[in-house]
């Protein structure tokens, strides 16, 4: 008989995620993913003014603070048939690209890098050799032997003080760490640089959105006035700052993040064959250049891929009753029509009914209900969402920008295209699209400046802002590609108020429990057959789960006292 191990919570994420995995002969045979907290934003929104929804939904998470607000204004605009001015679209796109640049860099260095980089081993590196290696990888100026020995001294002092802090939860010295000490030291140095860097790039959100965290949005456009000579609005001085931040951000991504990603990946090519999972990918699409209603204009094209077949990309319709549905067979909810049915979000219900074991407990009852996440399906299929899905859809559609970046990386690493369907592929895809969004951010900025110089400073269409202009009932859906994947909100407006509001978020697609047919979702599926060298230190599970960039805060809409325990790994069973 195999062993069941429990990882709860998976660390370095917002919110609480629990993984139970059965291990047999050193490999994972079965896996269960559970969201252990719930946040009923849907109930808070009922009866409110739809124009205010963005301010509430923006609070479901502190990580991708603006994505939900963006999706919400798009949802209301769809319901009320409001078209936003070109400048508002550009400002939203610049903010969205900024989010990608920030979020992906922070994910790579601060949430995921320590799964690959052994911090303690970095103390053994030779600073001179590290410097030579760094200079062979990139032109990034901070690469002298003195720089690396200084970093080593600081970390050494920190480790010696016994206050490991950020590094306290690592499995240092685990046999699955494969990097030479010098690469570990480069990774660690850039962990610290990225920390300083990330606080700069987010200022773009404060400039356009008035504040950060949680910048301001507006139904009908953006709530900022713009003009080169505008004293209190977005003027030439502030635009020059955005220009500089976008350029510095792009340089960091191209000269630090991407070379590090490729250097680290070259030592972990075996992970190009681990953690693939479903092989079904779903993208709603984003970064419109001619309005949200023209999908052909999207920088992130939408579509679905089934069974790793990139010769065919299927269209996705968020409004069709039978395409996207949520199931609760294994979720702590009740549907008025019973547990077997799937509901389109416009008909969605969110009545909680916790039937799980009373904490503290050893195992969840995985034969019954075991998560606060619902289970979304597209045409009955379990789908992975996120960077890998986006890169694969762009690549499958033959778009040159995607082809160029992916083909170069495959050639440099000397791996086949099938290596993309993996944990490594997921982590690499995040880097690819981060580099793309850094380029696109500049393109959107140049276009914005050109519009302003041509005299177009319109930022909002408020002709339908007054509720008296609205129909008695309206339905809308708004979508976005959050850094973690496809995100959509569905709204029903009745008598100028929100009658129903449903969110289906990326981590729900990826981390949900099984459906009525017993099909696994992306996390569970990706863990099957993963080797685990030491079940008391399941680094391999964490690598694959972190490769999805889990964020539970919005996917489950509370904690129980169990959720507040420090991270632990239990080995149970025999």
């Amino acid at each position: 008989m195999g062993k069941r191990i429990v990882v709860d919570p998976i660390t370095r994420i917002e919110g609480h995620l629990r993984i139970e995995a059965d291990i047999e002969n050193g490999k994972i045979k079965d896996a269960y993913s559970s969201g252990t907290m719930v946040r009923l934003i849907e109930e808070i929104l009922k009866g409110r003014d739809p124009r205010d929804a963005w301010a509430y939904v923006g609070r479901v998470c502190g990580v991708c603070t603006s994505t939900h607000s963006l999706t919400s204004v798009r949802t209301v605009e769809d319901a009320l048939k409001i078209n936003i001015p070109a400048n508002a679209e550009l400002v939203r796109n610049i903010m969205h690209c900024t989010l990608y640049m920030h979020d992906h860099v922070v994910h790579f260095y601060h949430l995921h890098a320590m799964d690959w980089v052994d911090v303690v081993n970095a103390l053994k590196a030779d600073p001179k050799k590290t410097s030579e290696l760094a200079q062979s990888l990139s032109h990034w100026p901070k690469s002298s032997p003195g720089y690396f020995s200084d970093i080593q001294a600081r970390i050494g002092k920190f480790v010696a003080s016994g206050q490991l802090g950020i590094f306290a939860n690592g499995y240092w010295g685990h046999p699955a760490y494969k990097l030479p000490a010098e690469v570990n030291l480069i990774g660690l140095a850039h962990y610290l640089e990225a920390l300083e860097w990330q606080k700069e790039i987010v200022k773009i959100h404060a400039i356009f959105g008035g504040k950060n965290p949680h910048p301001n949005y507006l139904v009908g456009g953006m709530a900022c006035s713009i003009g080169l000579d505008d004293v209190s609005g977005i003027n030439a001085e502030r635009l020059a700052m955005v220009d500089r931040l976008l350029e510095e951000g792009k340089q960091f991504i191209e000269q630090v993040y991407i070379p590090d990603l490729m250097a680290i990946a070259s030592f972990y090519k075996d992970w190009g064959g681990i953690g693939g999972g479903l092989g079904n990918y779903l993208v709603y699409g984003d970064l419109p250049t001619k309005g949200i209603n023209d999908p052909s204009s999207f920088k992130f094209p939408g579509g679905a891929i089934l069974n790793k077949d990139i010769s065919k990309v299927y269209d996705v319709d968020l409004k069709k009753d039978d395409e996207i549905q949520e199931f609760i067979k294994h979720s702590w909810y009740d549907y008025s029509g019973g547990d077997e049915q799937g509901l389109h979000p416009w008909k969605g219900e969110s009545k909680i009914n916790y039937t799980g074991p009373k904490p503290p407990f050893e195992h969840l009852d995985v034969k019954d209900k075991y998560s606060y996440l619902k289970t979304p399906r597209w045409n009955g299929n379990a789908m992975e969402v996120g960077p890998l899905a986006r890169v694969l859809v762009g690549y499958a559609k033959g778009i040159e920008e995607y082809r160029a970046v992916v083909d170069k990386a495959l050639t440099d690493l000397n791996v086949p295209v099938t290596a993309l369907f993996s944990t490594l592929g997921r982590t690499a895809a995040r880097g690819f699209e981060c580099a793309l969004t850094a380029q696109w951010g500049r393109e959107f900025f140049d276009q914005l400046i050109s519009n302003i110089k041509n005299g177009d400073t319109r930022m909002a269409d408020t002709s339908l802002f007054n509720p008296e202009t609205w129909p008695k009932t309206a339905f809308g859906v708004g979508f976005a590609e959050a850094p973690r994947g496809a995100l959509a909100h569905w709204i029903n407006i009745e008598d100028q108020k929100i009658a129903n509001y449903q969110l289906v978020v990326p981590t729900t697609w990826n981390a949900s429990p099984r459906d009525t047919k017993g099909q696994m979702s992306a996390y569970e599926s990706s863990l099957i057959d993963t080797p685990v060298a030491d079940e008391t230190q399941p680094l391999e599970i964490i690598r694959t789960i972190h490769s999805f960039d889990p964020c539970m805060a919005c996917s489950v809409h509370l904690y129980d006292e169990e959720g507040t325990t420090v991270s632990r790994v239990n080995v149970v069973g025999d």
Partner: protein, 159 residues
């Protein structure tokens, strides 16, 4: 908000406004704005915080934080802590403790840790949803704000 006026002290509220008493830090910032705040103090609704807040910790010399905590103490009671290391933070400091602790460690590592005073208010549950505080926690919040105004002083000018 970007600190362009070089005020030395930041009053920072942390929490999730959608989760009842857990959002007490955010409510405190809203409430503080109706008080007579000294001209050397800024206020910031930090949301659920994390790395986004690094720039504020580097810009101010003293950061006074207000957050919820889930412990066994009486609901609405509060404590004032001066943490030096991330491990000095109370363990069950709500949903966002990981991000905030990481932030403090990182500041420690970079040698840029400002003076930090942390007020924690005990709440009964983080299973609440909604955007309002219970009476006990609201009372605790008022006491914390009074204590801040009475005991936090303007730091001496840097020579």
């Amino acid at each position: 908000m970007i600190n362009t006026n070089n005020k030395p002290v930041l009053l920072l509220g942390i929490g999730n406004i959608l989760m009842g008493d857990e959002g007490v830090g955010i409510h405190a910032i809203e409430r503080a704005e109706s008080f007579d705040i000294p001209e050397w103090m800024d206020t910031l609704d930090g949301g659920t915080g994390g790395f986004h807040l690094l720039e504020y910790f580097e810009k101010y010399r003293h950061v006074v934080m207000i957050d919820a905590t889930l412990d066994d103490k009486t609901t609405g009671s509060w404590r004032k802590i001066t943490p030096r290391y991330a491990s000095d933070f109370p363990r069950a400091m709500s949903t966002h403790d990981i991000g905030l602790k990481d932030l403090v460690s990182a500041l420690h590592l970079s040698g840029r840790l400002p003076e930090i005073t942390l007020y924690v208010i005990s709440i009964e549950s983080i299973q609440q949803q909604g955007i309002y505080l219970t009476d006990k926690v609201n009372k605790g919040m008022e006491e914390v704000l009074q204590d801040i105004l009475a005991t936090v002083h303007e730091p001496l000018a840097v020579v």
